[in-house]
């Protein structure tokens, strides 16, 4: 190989070596943190689930959880998320957990995280708004302006609607699951 050929190859080689070295570093760091990240996420899910069903056990089935208390099935829990008023890019979606009773009515709803406007949309976290969901059936789970039974928060229709839509979607999952399964 002539010197010129080698010189021509050098940039590519250097880039390749650097890529390989740093890929290796990434693989190592990924392996080291993988377990911890998964654990953090699991903990977060567990904390969220026990918000709606304290002192119960959960069994993960596809995208929902069966909830057992002393070995007896008492309901279902689902993690839902969707876009609220706080947007796509910097803002996080609304994340919530829905507890569903065996009769397919809502047990309760808890917001895990959101990036709605402080003081307005952020009221979706408050009990005044969330307590409305308890006992509602799939048909009721719409804003009153859309023919349902949930009152929107004044000045925060978009955030309210987002929450209602997420909850309805999750309850729908359970409803269709139960309709088909048994």
């Amino acid at each position: 190989m002539s010197r010129a050929r080698v010189a021509g190859l050098k940039p590519a080689l250097v880039l390749m070596v650097i890529c390989m070295v740093f890929s290796a570093i990434l693989v190592v760091v990924h392996d080291l943190t993988k377990g911890k990240i998964a654990e953090v996420e699991r903990e977060e899910v567990n904390r969220a689930l026990s918000e709606v069903f304290p002192s119960a056990e959960f069994e993960k089935i596809d995208d929902y959880y069966k909830v057992f208390e002393n070995g007896v099935l008492v309901g279902y829990a689902l993690l839902g998320e969707g876009q609220g008023y706080g947007g796509v890019y910097g803002g996080e979606p609304i994340k919530l957990v829905v507890g569903v009773n065996l009769d397919k009515t809502v047990k309760s709803v808890k917001i895990i995280s959101h990036s709605e406007t402080p003081g307005i949309g952020s009221k979706i976290e408050e009990e005044n708004f969330l307590s409305q969901f308890s006992g509602k059936t799939l048909e009721d789970l719409k804003l009153r302006s859309d023919g349902g039974k949930i009152d929107a928060i004044t000045g925060a229709t978009i955030s309210s609607k987002a929450v209602v839509d997420i909850v309805r979607g999750e309850v729908q999952k359970i409803a269709s699951e139960m309709g088909e399964g048994r």
Binding site: F22, L26, G87, V88, Y89, G90, I158
Partner: protein, 193 residues
């Protein structure tokens, strides 16, 4: 169809990448002093954004996911964007003098335009769009960038004739103008189709 329209309107107006989402600010303030330059930069961004979105989408779907290497995405995506920009620059220089004169100086700047990497990440990691949705989102985001840039350039050209207090001249008044433009764009907030 409605979904695609929602994505498009969302990316152009509601979540305008510059005025609501704070991305691509360096070119937004850097290249918005003249309308001509601003529109050229805008078109260059639309092109690069769309093309690199398609490439990275394919790499993500058919390489990274099957290999379980999603964690390599940043390195891979930024390399793809950088080399794509480089190749485009070479291609343009070779084949069209006119395009080269128009876009030549903007292309290298685009590599570090965070809007490009952001859109690519949103298409794959955040939203998990399909190819069609990816294309629509990328084009619309680029159009939103162009719109913001052109509006800003119009304002700044007019400000050349204005007489702001000394401390506000240049960048500060550009920021204040952007603030008021963003204030107006809040009117699109929560728009649903």
């Amino acid at each position: 169809m409605e979904n695609l329209l929602t994505i498009a309107i969302g990316a152009i107006l509601v979540n305008n990448i510059v005025l609501t989402r704070f991305l691509g600010l360096c070119p937004f303030f850097g290249v918005s002093t003249r309308l001509r330059n601003a529109s050229m930069m805008g078109f260059a961004v639309i092109f690069v954004m769309t093309a690199s979105s398609i490439i990275t989408w394919a790499i993500y779907q058919y390489l990274l996911i099957p290999l379980n290497m999603e964690y390599m995405r940043l390195v891979v995506f930024i390399l793809v964007i950088a080399s794509f920009v480089q190749l485009t620059a070479i291609f343009v220089r070779k084949h069209s003098q006119r395009l080269h004169r128009a876009f030549g100086i903007y292309l290298p700047l685009i590599t570090t335009n965070c809007a490009i990497l952001a859109v690519v990440l949103i298409n794959t990691m955040v939203k998990e769009y399909s190819l069609l949705e990816t294309i629509v989102n990328s084009v619309a985001t680029g159009v939103g960038f162009l719109l913001a840039l052109v509006l800003m350039a119009g304002i700044r050209e007019r400000l050349d004739l204005a007489d702001p207090p000394g401390a506000f001249r240049g960048l500060p008044i550009a920021f204040v103008s952007a603030a008021l433009l963003a204030l107006a764009f809040q009117g699109f907030g929560g728009m649903l189709l």
